[in-house]
Amino acid sequence: MERTELTYDGLCGMIGKCLAPVSYEVFQQRRKLLVIAISEEVRFQKSIQKIEECNPNIELIIVAQMELKKVLDGIYNDRYQVVGWNGKYTVELVDRVKSEADISGTDGFLYFTQHSVNLRDKNMINIAQRLQKEADIRVYSDVVGYELYEYHNLPLYSQGIKVYEEINHLISLQLMDVTREGRA
């Protein structure tokens, strides 16, 4: 059991070490951010305001669902380009953004989430990795409560999560087999 505990805690620890809490002041070092908007308008606007306070010269390209784009266009249209998207955000949005906006010089990617480590954010991590293939891009998530995290070593991070899920699945299969044998 001790060995299992070490493995479990070790894996969670390894995943956790791939990200670090940072302050909004990190955006002083960024020139251009690609931001995926969320439907929580107040949270989104406050977060953008905090970024602007730290770096008034920062450029933002915002990606938002079509309905939200209309709202954000009204708020930011004179300052930032808002690219519309329908449905779940996928890596394909990188090409859409490229076709509608000038992403050259982008050095940061920001998305919003509920947890700093969140298995539901695979699509965001995929988008981040795609962006990192083409340029040196820092990846951040804005977590509930205006906490900011920066992600390091995304391949290790996503591999860790994959292993976690696979182990969970294998345990389930193994225990189903044990249960069946027991019944037999």
Binding site: M1, T4, E5, T7, Y8, D9, L11, C12, I15, G16, Q114, H115, V117, N118, L119, R120, V143, V144, G145, Y146, I161, Y164, E165, I167, N168, I171, S172, Q174, L175, M176, V178, T179
Partner: protein, 362 residues
């Protein structure tokens, strides 16, 4: 026994289900000297002194617990309304609290959540060894919609949390623009089932019939975004002068609003429990509420009922409470006693008995 508690997402302001978790856990940690409690996931945002097990939070709606449970064995996992994925071979009793099944009851309004309730929560309900319903109404819905045997479901009512907020000596904070206003108060969520439109319509009808009345309707919460209310604004020029939308208020302002109000009104079509009704009763307020779903369980004979689908009956209830001082007083006199029937101390005692029933296996 070692009991793992699984609750909702991290929140900046603790609301809804997390508030229920907090209220229950505060009392369990005080009362229970036999069992140890551990929170599944980070506790840095929860003001509870609890050990925790790191859990990667979410895999498309379900929390994957197999690996965590092998490394950190628990006797019971109690999920406060999150579906967990836990293999049957892991020796652990599973308890699921269900607050309501609103997306199954109103799929026309909550289509985006229908699948989550129809698949994930349904599966979790089937797998659970025990289901806790927060009202008899919710219990009946679980039986009907999930086809679960009644014996598997226990009712444990919610209480008030934080209790100190509703204490007699709790200090409120005034909302300056309402200090010199007589008003009927309601809290609101975004959902159409909360029937803010019916409430606004009924209040405007009351004002039309009583043009001399200076009473206003005050609504807190995110109602400003709600499209139906926007429509009411568009159609009725008099809304702005009769209905005050405060947006979100602090806990201290909330308690001030409850106390300052002439009466509290809640005409939702459906509630799994109806916490705002209990909050208003606890400060001795006259309450008007819908005679629907769980609300009569919370209101008992201490509130004025109306049919949430009939604007006329809502208006009649408003009229009677505002104009008949002795009737209002009789409701106020019964309010606190009715509220005292619900507490997290009581809920914790009942939960301990349920946990105890798993001591010798499940």
């Amino acid at each position: 026994m070692k009991i793992g508690v699984l609750s909702m997402y991290k929140e900046k302001e603790i609301t809804g289900i997390n508030k229920v978790t907090m209220g229950l856990m505060e009392e369990l940690l005080k009362l229970d000297r036999e069992n140890d409690y551990v929170f599944l996931g980070k506790t840095d945002w929860l003001p509870l002194d609890m050990e925790h097990i790191p859990v990667l939070p979410d895999a498309g709606g379900s929390v994957l617990l197999n690996y965590a449970m092998l490394a950190h064995p628990l006797d019971i996992v109690h999920s406060h309304y999150r579906p967990f994925e836990l293999s049957r071979g892991i020796p652990c009793a599973k308890i699921l609290t269900i607050h309501d099944l609103i997306p199954l009851i109103y799929p026309q309004w909550y289509g985006s959540q229908f699948e989550y309730f129809d698949v994930s929560i349904r599966r979790c309900a089937k797998e659970a060894d025990k289901i806790i319903a927060v009202s008899e109404c919710t219990k009946q819905d679980i039986i009907e919609y999930y086809d679960i045997m009644p014996e598997k479901i226990d009712v444990v009512y919610n209480g008030l949390s934080p209790t100190k907020l509703f204490a007699d000596d709790a200090e409120g904070q005034s909302v300056p623009e309402l200090e010199n206003t007589d008003f009927i108060f309601s809290v609101s969520g975004l959902g159409p089932h909360k029937n803010q439109a019916g409430l606004a319509e009924a209040f405007l009808l009351y004002k039309k019939r009583h043009p001399e009345s200076k009473v206003k309707l005050v609504l807190t919460g995110p109602v400003r975004k709600y499209e139906v209310v926007r429509e009411i604004f568009a159609k009725n020029a008099k809304v702005a002068e009769n209905v005050v939308f405060t947006g979100f208020v602090s806990d201290a302002q909330l308690i001030w609003l409850y106390r300052k109000a002439l009466a509290f009104i809640y005409v939702s079509y459906y509630e799994g429990f109806g916490l705002p009704i209990l909050e208003a009763l606890s400060v001795g307020k006259a309450v008007i509420c819908a005679n629907a779903a769980s609300m009569p369980e919370v209101g008992g004979d201490a509130v004025a009922y109306c049919d949430p689908h009939e604007v006329e009956t809502i208006e009649a209830a408003i009229d009677r409470v505002v104009s008949d001082e002795s009737y209002k007083k009789s409701l106020e006199e019964r309010a606190a006693e009715q509220a005292s029937r619900f507490s997290y101390k009581k809920a914790a005692g009942e939960m301990m008995q349920i946990y105890e029933s798993f001591r010798n296996g499940y």
